[in-house]
């Protein structure tokens, strides 16, 4: 495992990755790897959902929206799937840790301008960690009707970290990370590059306060 990792990091020491990454970050996925995974996920979705006539994509706010947009673009542009119903869902008011976090949680917008009644819903999020966000999303989506079924697509599946019995149906990459580490997904639209890093949480704190 460690051998494989070191090989990958030497292969990917390109300039973009270095300028964005402080020393302590570990690159999990490079831009090229992210691109390959996105294509694979898109193909897996087509295999199951064919023409997407009864399927809707729902990105989970805030970070799942980027991945959902990408998947939608790929499906429409590369694989000629005609327009797909697409929305994003904010779970803030459905979270189970209201008044239990040190700082208040800021809400994001929800945009679902269709009913999900009898539709196949695909939740899309960047990282699956404890599963609590998805639990909240399962409750939140009920405000828009009773879906026929709900599936989950994630880019990164953190193993051995679940608090709830929730597993993805489509996963980009499975990652073993300890609790003191955070998986950070970067997107071109927001962070200037497509990449996934493993970051020790101590460095996150120092960079955010700096």
């Amino acid at each position: 495992m460690s051998k494989k990792n070191s090989k990958r990091s030497t292969k990917n020491t390109n300039f973009t990755a270095q300028t964005h990454a402080p020393m302590s970050q570990k690159l999990l996925l490079s831009e090229k790897e992210v691109a390959i995974i996105l294509h694979r996920l898109a193909c897996q979705l087509i295999e199951k959902h064919l023409d997407f006539s009864n399927t809707v994509l729902v990105g989970i706010q805030p970070r799942g929206v980027f991945l959902a947009e990408r998947i939608k673009q790929l499906l429409e542009q590369e694989y000629q799937v005609p327009s797909i119903a697409f929305g994003y869902l904010d779970i803030t008011f459905f979270r189970d840790d209201f008044r239990r976090t040190a700082t208040p949680i800021e809400a994001n917008s929800t945009k679902i301008d269709f009913l999900v009644e009898n539709k196949k819903v695909i939740f899309i999020d960047d990282v699956l960690y404890t599963g609590r966000s998805i639990r909240s999303a399962l409750t939140a989506i009920q405000s828009f009707g009773r879906p026929a079924e709900i599936e989950l697509l994630v880019l990164i599946d953190r193993r051995f970290s679940r608090h709830l019995p929730i597993q993805p149906d489509y996963r980009g990459r499975q990652v073993d990370a300890i609790n003191q580490e955070k998986v950070k997904v970067h997107w071109k639209e927001q962070d200037g590059e497509d990449a996934v890093y493993l970051v020790p949480t101590t460095t996150i704190q120092t960079t955010t306060t700096a």
């Binding site: 904010d90 008011f93 008044r99 208040p104 800021e106 809400a107 405000s143």
Partner: protein, 309 residues
């Protein structure tokens, strides 16, 4: 900023401009929520709220109750008319009795100015002022500003005239504070007897002529003539008031620009505004009512997040 600077909503004058922004942004999310097929979120399921109304209210009480229920809070409501207050119980005793039933937040309307402020110092609960005498009615001012923001894009730089009974109006005072805090200009217009004497000290100009006031403004907030608060006659007759300070369609159409008409309700049709004006496309009166629920959800949500569990 993601947290209010206050633990109670006692009046607009205790808020910061950033607080108002935060309430508006949160209300945007709740406005989307209340337009869903299922209009309820589970955020406040471990919060209990008491609505204590020592003064009559339909709209505000309903709006607060609906906001609380949409947030899944447990709600108890009572009106003073049926309570032990009539038997001589003091305000603090009444509220402390309610709080010993494990209530986290109190929404109160009272006829005495400063009642909410007094209560916030004496009892251990988050207090929301739903109107205290002729002092403040903060949630009404917030929903008025929010409705202006929704219709005109922003509140800053806009010209707002408040027409009518300024003297007895808590809506007027809260609105003046809120509008000025957001950078709007405010004038008041009404019979001299119903304009408080030192209103200029708030930085508000008095315009006695309704037509001139309407020509100047972007938004006209038409207050209700509060007959129940008038101990003496402040103007000769309702008909004369309507002629001088009422807005009808011909007056509205004769203005050089389209202004927005607001009214905090309940309307005396034919007095402050005619039916034609109230039901016209320039009126945002029903939007104000809808926004009231979203604004109150935002205020309750933000205050509840500061209660220690």
């Amino acid at each position: 900023m993601s947290e209010l600077s206050v633990n109670h909503l006692l009046g607009i004058k205790y808020l910061q401009p950033e607080d108002i922004q935060l309430i508006f942004e949160t209300a945007d999310h709740f406005k989307e929520v209340i337009n869903r097929p299922i209009k309820k979120v589970p955020s406040l399921r471990d919060i209990t709220i008491a609505n204590i109304f020592f003064e009559n209210s339909t709209r505000t009480k309903l709006s607060f109750e609906l906001a609380q229920k949409r947030l899944s809070a447990d709600v108890i409501s009572f009106s003073a008319a049926q309570s032990s207050v009539k038997k001589g119980e003091t305000l603090i005793d009444t509220v402390n009795n309610i709080l010993s039933m494990k209530v986290d937040m109190v929404v109160m309307r009272h006829s005495s100015p400063g009642a909410a402020h007094f209560l916030s110092q004496k009892v251990k609960a988050s207090i929301i002022n739903a109107g205290d005498g002729a002092h403040e009615h903060p949630t009404q001012a917030l929903l008025d500003s929010y409705s202006i923001r929704e219709r005109l894009g922003e509140v800053g730089g806009k010209k707002v005239v408040i027409v009518g009974d300024i003297l007895h109006s808590r809506v007027a005072l809260s609105n003046i504070y809120a509008l000025q805090m957001q950078g709007a200009q405010v004038k008041v217009c009404g019979p001299k007897t119903l304009i408080p004497r030192y209103i200029e000290s708030l930085g508000v100009q008095v315009e006695p002529n309704l037509r001139k006031a309407l020509e100047w403004c972007d938004v006209a907030n038409m207050l209700r003539v509060q007959n129940e608060r008038m101990d003496v006659n402040y103007f000769p007759s309702t008909r004369e008031y309507a002629q001088q300070y009422g807005v009808d369609k011909p007056l509205l159409d004769s203005l050089s620009k389209e202004i927005v008409i607001m009214h905090p309700g309940p309307i005396n049709r034919g007095v402050e505004i005619t039916s034609e004006v109230a039901d016209s496309s320039q009126s945002v009166i029903l939007n104000q009512v809808e926004n009231g629920v979203a604004i109150r959800m935002a205020v309750i949500y933000l205050l509840a997040s500061k209660i220690q569990s």
